[in-house]
């Protein structure tokens, strides 16, 4: 039944008896044998120079953001930070392919995607600073809360995209997940629902090599994560996750496909997490330096910068200007994070239910009394000390 037919008994017909027709040729759904690349290939000639420059500037800012946030953990300003250094191309492309009306469903490592989509850099870090869970209104930015449980945001993306289509809105949801997240049941259920419902969703798997310490080979026996798409009846695309132009192109095609009513796509971006899982992790226990160094040669920022310099689209002065802009962003982030957040203990009870239950009212009153007693004590203490 199409959306237009929606209400009314006249349009109703029960699901017809099952007529199982296997897709005899899954080839159109299969990913390329090698990750798709644009930079350094003939395809780069077709890339829009302005887009490449924008990607470059955002990549540099993203790299600086990761460095600044990691530094803030060392100063105790952030409880934890899962850096996405090395994965900036995936993050930035995910943000830039979406229209304003579209929705982004990030995981906990995808702060950069949210910031590149326009979220205030300080608001994006409240979860990791520890003052509040989500420092922004998801509806205002059309960015779901950064999701910590693995892959559980993927069914949300499917439901939202489905709902938008039922309402006749031209909205696409892009959901991000890591390689470890593809082992979760919610990943499977989300892909299955999306394919059956033909929901306008794009799934972006950032395969960064490790689920904390566990390498991909211990995570899956599939030929590639993109191959998983075939089992659900959707196309899988394999892309070089360090090639910003390629990720942008593949995601753009997937978004266009979704918007055109052709259903979901699974994109696997092959990349590498240059830093540890978080600042609390010791990556030397599970990987060797030579592997990290090999990936350093395939750095997403340098790949794009080299291409732009070689083609004369960017010069050293241009590189400097981008760096300066990134420094200003980092300085603003430092200032924002060094200002102590104002915490209101009574807010603990404010947003549990639309109306506080009598149980919560009683607990709020008890906390209020504790706070008042503390204040009295402090004032008394000060008086006595004089």
């Amino acid at each position: 039944m199409t959306v237009q037919e929606l209400p009314g008994a006249a349009a109703y017909r029960p699901t017809p008896p099952p007529a199982w027709k296997p897709i005899t040729d899954p080839a159109p759904l299969l990913p390329d044998p090698e990750p798709y690349r644009v930079l350094g290939t003939d395809a780069v000639a077709d890339a829009d120079p302005e887009l490449l420059l924008r990607l470059h500037a955002e990549l540099v800012r993203g790299r600086r953001y990761n460095a600044q946030a990691t530094a803030l953990t060392k100063q105790g300003r952030l409880a934890v930070y899962p850096s996405s250094t090395g994965q900036e191309a995936c993050e930035i492309a995910a943000a830039l392919v979406l229209e304003e009306r579209d929705w982004l469903f990030p995981s906990y490592r995808d702060t950069l995607a949210a910031v590149a989509r326009g979220l205030d850099p300080v608001e994006a870090l409240t979860l990791l600073r520890g003052d509040r869970h989500t420092g922004y209104d998801p509806r205002e930015h059309r960015i779901a809360p950064l999701c910590t449980p693995l892959a559980t945001q993927l069914p949300h993306a499917v439901g939202l995209a489905h709902a938008a289509r039922l309402k006749g809105d031209d909205v696409v949801a892009l959901a991000m997940v890591g390689d470890g997240g593809t082992s979760e049941g919610d990943f499977h259920e989300a892909l299955n629902f999306a394919a059956v419902w033909k929901a306008p969703v794009v799934f972006l798997v950032q395969n960064n090599g490790f689920a904390i310490s566990v390498p991909l080979a211990k995570q899956t026996a599939a030929p590639s994560l993109a191959h998983k798409a075939v089992g659900y009846g959707m196309p899988g695309r394999l892309v070089d996750g360090n090639d910003a132009a390629a990720v942008h192109q593949v995601l753009s095609e997937a978004v266009a496909r979704a918007r055109g009513g052709e259903g979901p796509t699974l994109v696997e971006a092959v990349t590498y997490r240059m830093d540890a899982h978080t600042n609390a992790d010791d990556a030397t226990r599970y990987r060797v330096d030579s592997e990290v160094e090999a990936w350093r040669a395939h750095d997403p920022v340098r790949l794009l910068e080299r291409e732009l310099l070689e083609r004369g689209l960017l010069d050293e002065a241009g590189v400097e200007r981008v760096k300066e802009s990134a420094e200003r962003m980092a300085a603003a982030l430092r200032d924002g994070m060094n200002a102590d957040p104002e915490l209101a203990p009574m807010d603990l009870f404010t947003h549990v239910y639309a109306e506080q239950t009598s149980q919560l009212q009683a607990q709020a009153a008890a906390l209020r009394a504790e706070l008042d007693a503390e204040q009295d004590h402090d004032e008394h203490g000060t008086e006595a000390g004089r």
Partner: protein, 343 residues
């Protein structure tokens, strides 16, 4: 537990015998007709009308897009409902049987219960999760669990369970209209219980969060909900012969919990028994008994007693009558309330 007649727009509508299942279906239908953002989804809810036929006719009346047969995956169903609610719909999810809801627990605990809180109030999730629960219908294993304690222990959820035909309709309408997520527990052994009820002009019921005194009495209070209400009503009638005048409180809503109605009743009677069929250890009865003790200690003539299911996995159907608290077990507890005489 019956309404003889109700008045609608000046005309009197005659009440007819209706089952709880019919009232629930009617509540879904009326909610969908009133609000186009209400969507029903679940396993077999469309063409089949649900295994208990609660959603019968909804797909035909409103189309497959508003009453949707989903793939067989509870986490996916509830997860998709979260996304639908994020976009402004009011999903009503059917979890076919109590124990089938467990795969969806992560979605319920991590997202449904917490989204309003996580987003500082910016993104409430008006989702109703209908869970047919409890035993007494001869179901084989995984079809008869009483899982209310898990839901009660999760802040952010409302937990509601009707025991009457009127409440089945009224509470489900209110749950769907609520801006908070509601776990709506349907006592499946009462699906075919009947009352004189008028679908055209349903009687108004107390809102979510209020308990109701179903029977007034002076000697002791039976506190119960859902499938155990008829057991307690029967026990109260039987106790008259023993000289006991029992009050019966139907909680209707486990979260929020109506401390006031419960405490007022126990202060009047001085004795209380909490009756439910879910296992007693770590179950709702312990919480309720503690709340009563904290509020009514000086009024109590005896310890608050619990009559609950045994602390065992739900038994095979041929043994379930030994597990489920029945009238005799309730009356035994009432007899034990003569604390002074025994001690």
């Amino acid at each position: 537990m019956t309404t003889a007649a109700a008045t609608a727009g000046g005309r009197t509508t005659k009440a007819k015998p209706a089952t709880m299942a019919q009232a629930l279906g009617r509540a879904l239908r009326d909610s969908m007709a009133e609000d186009p953002s209400v969507h029903v989804l679940g396993e077999d809810v469309g063409t089949l009308g649900g295994v208990f036929r609660i959603t019968d006719g909804l797909a035909k009346e409103f189309g497959d897009d508003r009453c949707t047969d989903t793939p067989l995956a509870e986490a996916g169903i509830l997860g998709a409902a979260v996304g639908m609610a994020m976009y402004g719909l009011r999903p009503v999810v059917e979890m076919q049987f109590d124990a089938f809801a467990y795969p969806a627990f992560e979605q319920l605990m991590s997202h449904v219960a917490k989204m309003r809180n996580r987003t500082g109030g910016a993104m409430p999730l008006p989702i109703t999760v209908r869970v047919p629960y409890g035993g007494g219908i001869g179901g084989v294993e995984h079809h008869s669990d009483s899982s209310e304690a898990y839901y009660m222990a999760t802040p952010g959820l409302h937990v509601v369970t009707p025991a009457t035909v009127e409440d089945a309709y009224g509470l489900l309408r209110e749950s769907i209209a609520s801006d908070d997520p509601v776990v709506f527990l349907e006592p499946k052994r009462l699906y075919w219980s009947k009352a004189d009820w008028s679908p055209e002009a349903p009687a108004a019921v107390e809102p979510i969060g209020r308990a109701v005194v179903r029977r007034s009495g002076r000697s002791a209070t039976l506190i119960t909900y859902g499938p155990s209400l008829p057991v307690c009503m029967e026990a109260a009638e039987a106790a008259v012969a023993e000289g006991w005048d029992l009050e019966v409180v139907d909680l209707r809503s486990l979260v929020p919990f109506d401390d006031e109605t419960v405490a007022a009743s126990v202060r009047r009677t001085g004795r209380a028994v909490v009756v439910h069929e879910s296992p007693g250890f770590g179950g709702p009865g312990g919480e309720i008994a503690a709340r009563i003790t904290e509020r009514c200690f000086h009024h109590l003539e005896a310890p608050v007693l619990r009559v609950a299911g045994f602390d065992i996995p739900y038994p095979p159907p041929m043994l379930e009558r030994h597990h489920l608290p029945g009238v005799d077990r309730v009356l035994d507890a009432v007899a034990r309330l003569q604390w002074e005489a025994d001690s």
